[in-house]
């Protein structure tokens, strides 16, 4: 246990490895730590499948993370940037389209560069800005014709590196764009790609249907806020409100962290426990979290948060936090080994990790203190979990989001209790709005009320500054 902490501190202390070393280290340290975990466990049988399961999940996530890094290394198109050449590119839309107030932003996975008589095969990404209509969806096959350019930095924003992180080195504004059929391609997509496209297409469609339902049932800007809190989609939140969140150090509620996922998980398990046995409910909850993770776009940071969230729920199920501690710290450790940068630069990781530690060490202490409080289904459990997680993450939140710590402390303390309630009613409004609009609208009023409270707090505190 202490060894693991020591290692984490070691990484935090400084040295970033280069890749070949890293791979070796991963294997070595994973093996050593695994032994360490089981050594501490001794003969406790129950924890074996738990730790093993955690390891499997981590191995999977490792694969995903590595995949992200190794993607898009081909760079043919940059040669045509900022020239007078009109390029015709064929490909498919490889991310959820961003619908802004006056335009759509699409990421095109370019597969073919078309010239009158033949096509050059490639596999890279470009960023496309088009009008609001026609609407494009993830997985649409399109042809795009226009003059491409290199990204340029804004006054105080490193746009070039921001896009490079996602493997984008060319962009085009308002090109000629047309939907085409997959069968028109010279070289058909691989089976793997086809499966990926059709799976994500469905997922993003569900997400869109849900988000639009929230938008129908709740007035703006609250609907945008609720979609932000629930699914991490921030693009519809008005700029001035976004700035108010930034100023008051409360932006983190609009990002998917282990905290959000734990809340989602607790809600799901709460619902399932009405219908089925506790044990079975747990697995449905895990499934729910996996679906939720994919709905939010399954970025590396959300996957990390989901793993943390699942481990926390596991701890809940076992009801023995101290036994879980080793597994969770171990999970954190492996994540750090995989990508040492998360420890310092990934605030989402820090929040997830600290919230988890809060649940392990602080929650039992709090529940001891609050013995007299009645149970009320799982409300007490929720309250203690939320409170202990919040206390732990507060320093990180203050450090990262609040350059004005004076305001962000009271703002966070006032806002955070409303977040799970907003999530709950926002989700309920969205779902019931799909079944019966008027019911959704009625529930939407409650969601509106709590989100309005959050907006009010944020606005008040941002004005005080």
């Amino acid at each position: 246990m202490f060894l693991m902490f020591a290692f984490i501190l070691g990484v935090g202390g400084g040295s970033f490895f280069d890749i070949s070393q890293e791979v070796v280290l991963v294997i070595a340290i994973a093996a050593i730590s695994l032994v360490a975990v089981f050594y501490r466990r001794g003969s406790k049988f129950l924890s074996f499948p738990v730790a093993f399961g955690a390891f499997l999940i981590l191995a999977f996530s490792a694969g995903v993370l590595r995949f992200d890094v190794s993607e898009s290394l081909i760079k043919v198109l940059t040669n045509f940037n900022d020239t007078d050449i009109n390029l015709e590119l064929w490909g498919y839309i490889n991310d959820e389209p961003q619908r802004l107030i006056d335009k759509q932003r699409l990421i095109l996975q370019v597969k073919e560069i078309r010239v009158p008589d033949y096509a050059v095969l490639t596999d890279e990404k470009v960023l496309i800005t088009v009008n609001l209509y026609p609407e494009f969806q993830y997985g649409d096959f399109v042809s795009v014709e226009g003059k491409f350019q290199s990204p340029k930095n804004f006054d105080d924003f490193d746009y070039v590196n921001y896009l490079a992180k996602d493997g984008i080195f060319s962009l085009v504004y308002y090109p000629k764009i047309q939907k085409i059929s997959e069968s028109d391609f010279l070289n058909p997509q691989s089976i793997f790609e086809d499966i990926k496209i059709s799976a994500f297409r469905q997922i993003f469609r569900i997400k869109k249907v849900f988000e639009e339902s929230v938008e129908r049932t709740v007035a703006e800007p609250n609907a945008a806020l609720i979609n932000g809190i629930l699914l991490g989609s921030r693009e519809n939140i008005p700029q001035d409100l976004k700035e108010a969140f930034n100023k008051t150090g409360t932006t983190h509620i609009l990002a998917i962290s282990g905290y959000n996922i734990t809340i989602v998980g607790l809600y799901i398990s709460f619902i399932f426990m009405f219908f089925i046995r506790r044990q079975a409910a747990f697995w449905f909850t895990v499934l729910g979290i996996v679906i939720f993770t994919i709905l939010t776009g399954a970025s590396a940071s959300v996957i990390r948060a989901a793993i943390m969230g699942i481990l926390v729920l596991l701890a809940y199920r076992e009801g023995r936090f101290h036994n879980m501690a080793n597994s969770i710290v171990f999970a954190g450790l492996v994540m750090i080994v995989l990508n040492p940068k998360v420890l310092r630069f990934d605030v989402g990781f820090q929040l997830s990790f600290l919230a988890t530690l809060g649940l392990i060490y602080l929650a039992p202490f709090l529940s001891e203190k609050l013995k007299k409080m009645p149970e009320l289904w799982t409300f007490k459990e929720n309250f203690i979990a939320t409170l202990s997680a919040q206390i732990m993450v507060l320093p990180v939140i203050l450090y990262n989001f609040g350059s004005f710590s004076l305001v962000s402390l009271p703002a966070n303390v006032l806002i955070l209790p409303a977040v799970p309630i907003t999530m709950f009613f926002g989700f309920l409004a969205g779902v019931s709005g799909l079944i019966w609009l008027r019911l959704g609208e009625a529930i939407g009023l409650i969601a509106w009320l709590f989100s309005e409270y959050e907006i009010l707090i944020v606005r008040i505190f941002s004005v005080i500054l």
Binding site: Y133, E215, A219, P374, L445, E452
Partner: protein, 286 residues
Amino acid sequence: MPPKKQIIVFVLLVLFLVLAFFADSKNEAGLKVYFFDVGQGDSIFIETEEKKQILIDGGPDNKVVQKLSEAMPFWDRTIDLVILTHSDKDHILGLIEVLKRYRVKGIIETGIECGKAECLAWKELKEKEKAPVIFVKLGDSLVLDENTKILILNPFVDMAGEKISKANNSSIVAKLIYGGYSILLTGDIEKQIEEKLVLAGVDIDSDYLKIPHHGSKTSTTEEFLKKTSPLLAFISLGKNNSYGHPHKIVIDRLEKRNIKYYRTDELGTILLICRLNEQCHIENQK
């Protein structure tokens, strides 16, 4: 949380809901006309004294959604009537998002064919929404409530199903009448239709005028202004727009006649409030 507290919370929530619905029926008596600041385009929102809500055009992007939620109470997810004057981008675009988000009870338009991407999206949503669509022409009128009605002054003939290359002159021109007040809403009509209205002797005389086509020099002719003889005028346009609207010649014509004008690019959203037996007044909400 002890059970008692839970009950209190529940009661408070129910109370809040009841309050919201009751506040809705509260009657403030009066007509409100908002000229939304949606940039280079038109979007006009009307609330009658009996809280009937009409949205005329949606501006060039989705800003109108934000503006609507500022003008409408948060519990209100219904718009009684949407009027699309014509299908140019700076009028139709925001309406599509409005149709997605609000329950729209009725739609008024000219019915002219349009194959542009935004028209197709609009058409698809109309079918999904199943809101009744009415095609209008000169002579049609709509009674909104006891003291409020809308008279349609253009197009002169039923144009449903027709194909035209330039939509401006097919714009629906509507005269909103509230008690003794009248407001002329002109879409993007140009000189041609202005002359036609004057020559045909259509009653365009109004207290307030929305300047046609964002103050373009192709509109707001001397004759038209003379016949309309407004006290005040409103120009809906975007700051530093690429068309150079409003043109100086239009401003000169207004100033020559001592017609005071309000511009959305300078003032933001402009709100005209009229109460029966009282002077109308203007508020602007930047």
